[in-house]
């Protein structure tokens, strides 16, 4: 047994898992508010990261301004997407909605490749110290920052849903759309807002991953990794999404460890979460924290 390697991998898993958790959270946000399954979540990361990269390299903006401008852009982007594409589909069968988001993901992915090319582009360095030592383990500064950002986002979410009027409106809409509408909640605004928030939060995750690994279309794979996370945590639970993300992150890294040490099958990193996914769907399809769907006729 190689304990240092295992520990390092678990730590990596937690860090990546936190990012999965953030993306999963923004996925759940849309699902809760508007019952739309967003297969284009990974492309939100991609677009956010490319936008930020473009502002930093082509326009030579300082990081903080580029980052803020990216967030503004993503807000508008999320609202526009909801208004133009998703709203005409309210009331359509779920397979149509799924297909539309899949179509969107294809379009955005190809568009990004067309505009920025297929090669990974590094971000200009942001921190002076690239990596630091914690208890003998190497950790990149950006990853530490990403954990901090994830925690902050979580905190803001908790505050937003508990303490603000809009948060209350969103919770009401998620609970019962018709009742909320009849009580004067602006459901359309809530939909638009949920897409905007989701796009912004995903873009933050995208920028973090971009700073670490460089920006490339591989970023959109985070959108696929979201599914094991949200199913594990429960589709309509924000806390569950974060926890599911962490578990998936650790799981794929430990699977990688077991594979490299004992099994030598290869590719476990990519596939292990999906085996777990099937298993969960068989045993407990509503996940750890999700609401069990009880049907009455």
């Amino acid at each position: 047994m190689n304990w240092t390697l295992l520990l390092q991998l678990v730590l990596n898993g937690l860090i990546v898992g936190a990012l999965y958790g953030v993306v999963a959270m923004s996925f759940v946000l849309i699902y809760k508010a508007s019952q739309v399954v967003n297969f284009a979540q990974g492309e939100f990361l991609l677009i956010g990261a490319w936008a930020c990269w473009w502002l930093l390299t082509t326009w030579q903006l300082p990081f903080i301004w580029g980052f803020l401008l990216t967030l503004v852009f993503m807000t508008l982007f999320g609202i526009a997407l909801e208004r133009i594409v998703l709203r005409p589909l309210i009331g359509e069968p779920i397979v149509s909605v799924i297909m539309v988001t899949i179509g969107l993901s294809i379009v955005f992915q190809a568009l990004m490749k067309w505009m920025f090319g297929v090669f990974a582009q590094p971000f200009p360095p942001i921190f002076t110290t690239q990596r630091i030592n914690i208890l003998g383990l190497e950790v990149q500064t950006v990853y530490l920052l990403s954990i901090a950002i994830s925690a902050v986002i979580l905190g803001v979410f908790a505050w937003f849903f508990r303490a603000t009027r809009y948060g209350l409106a969103m919770r009401a809409t998620a609970f019962d759309q018709q009742a909320a509408q009849s009580l004067g909640v602006p459901v359309r605004q809530v939909f638009a807002m949920s897409w905007a928030i989701s796009a912004v939060v995903s873009a933050v995750a995208g920028v973090v991953v971009g700073v670490v690994n460089g920006v490339s279309s591989a970023l959109s794979f985070y959108g696929i990794k979201v599914f094991p996370a949200v199913i594990l945590g429960g589709l309509d639970s924000i806390l569950g999404a974060v926890l599911g993300g962490l578990i998936v992150g650790v799981l794929e890294n430990t699977a990688e460890f077991v594979d490299s040490q004992f099994l030598h099958w290869g590719n476990m990193y990519q596939v292990a979460p999906f085996y777990v996914l099937i298993l969960i769907l068989m045993i407990r399809p509503y996940g750890l924290f999700g609401t069990k769907d009880i049907e009455r006729v």
Binding site: E92, I102, I106, Q109, L111, W114, N267, F274, L281
Partner: protein
Amino acid sequence: MTAQTPSGDFRTSYRADTTIFPTAMSRNAAIAGIVLLALTPFVADRYILSLMIQIGILGIAALGLNILVGFTGQISIGHSAFFGFGAFASAYAVEHGVPVPLAIVFAGVVTTAVGMVFGLPAARLKRLYLAIATLAAQFILEDFFARAQWFTGGVAGRVTEPFSLFGWVADRDESYFYVVLAFVIIMYLMAANLMRTRDGRALVAVRDHYLSAEVMGINLTRYRTLSFGISSFYAGIAGALYAHYLLFVSVEAFTIVFSIQFLAMAIIGGLGSVMGSLMGTAFMVLLPEFVQWSVELLRGGVIDRALKLADSLSYLREMVIGAVIVLFLIFEPDGLAHRWKQIKAYWKLYPFSH
């Protein structure tokens, strides 16, 4: 979707209600169409033939998916994995001395079994959960293809033999066209017939309201799994035909993008329409060709230079496919089959359309 039949067309028996061809005219038109198709290898060139063969092969798989999605109301984002499984199964059987026609049938049967294994969760899962389960199936099967060297030949892929029957070898596009045509006719007739049977009606009932269906005594588990089985059977047969057309099966070919294209074929053609599947497939196969043609047309011009069109042809194709899916769902959610019916009704009822 309301039936677009002229007024005064009343069916008085169940037999009349379940015919494949409502009028003698439509039957004759179908036969004439098949005869015309059978003559194409004598007039069309290689390029058109290869496109038609592709439409035929993919159309069979798309029909399978349409039975699952359009008739039973399930979702599958893993169809290309089953398609690929069929391709490998047939190539594997041929490698072990099975004649090609039998290998194709064998591929269909084996893929049915695999589809039913992955379809078993479908009995419990609904809608979104099912979509995600089939997504997982896609990745697991893709991983299996890369891993199972004995079955798929690993990264190198697997070479296979051309179709042959009683000494007649279909190793050219002109001859393979007939093989595909025969399979298309058989598979489409089977699907059209399925919808006239008790089982077919049960599938539709499960789609329309599964609780009512269950109350009426339809075994949901059985029919959901059965639907997955049938859909995989079609995918398997089509995959096998694909393998013996290209004579080489590559591990990397059966990605999720391919699965999405199958879904797009079914949706653009029209969910729940047998002939729509073929229209949707034709649309999806011809669309990239059309994009390429338009880019060729613009080559060297101002737009080409400003947008780097020629260098990014593959992205353009992808983008157009995605955009077409989105636009169809927003503006024509019932698909091409519905539009075709409306056009027919327009001519039939002209000039008194009400």
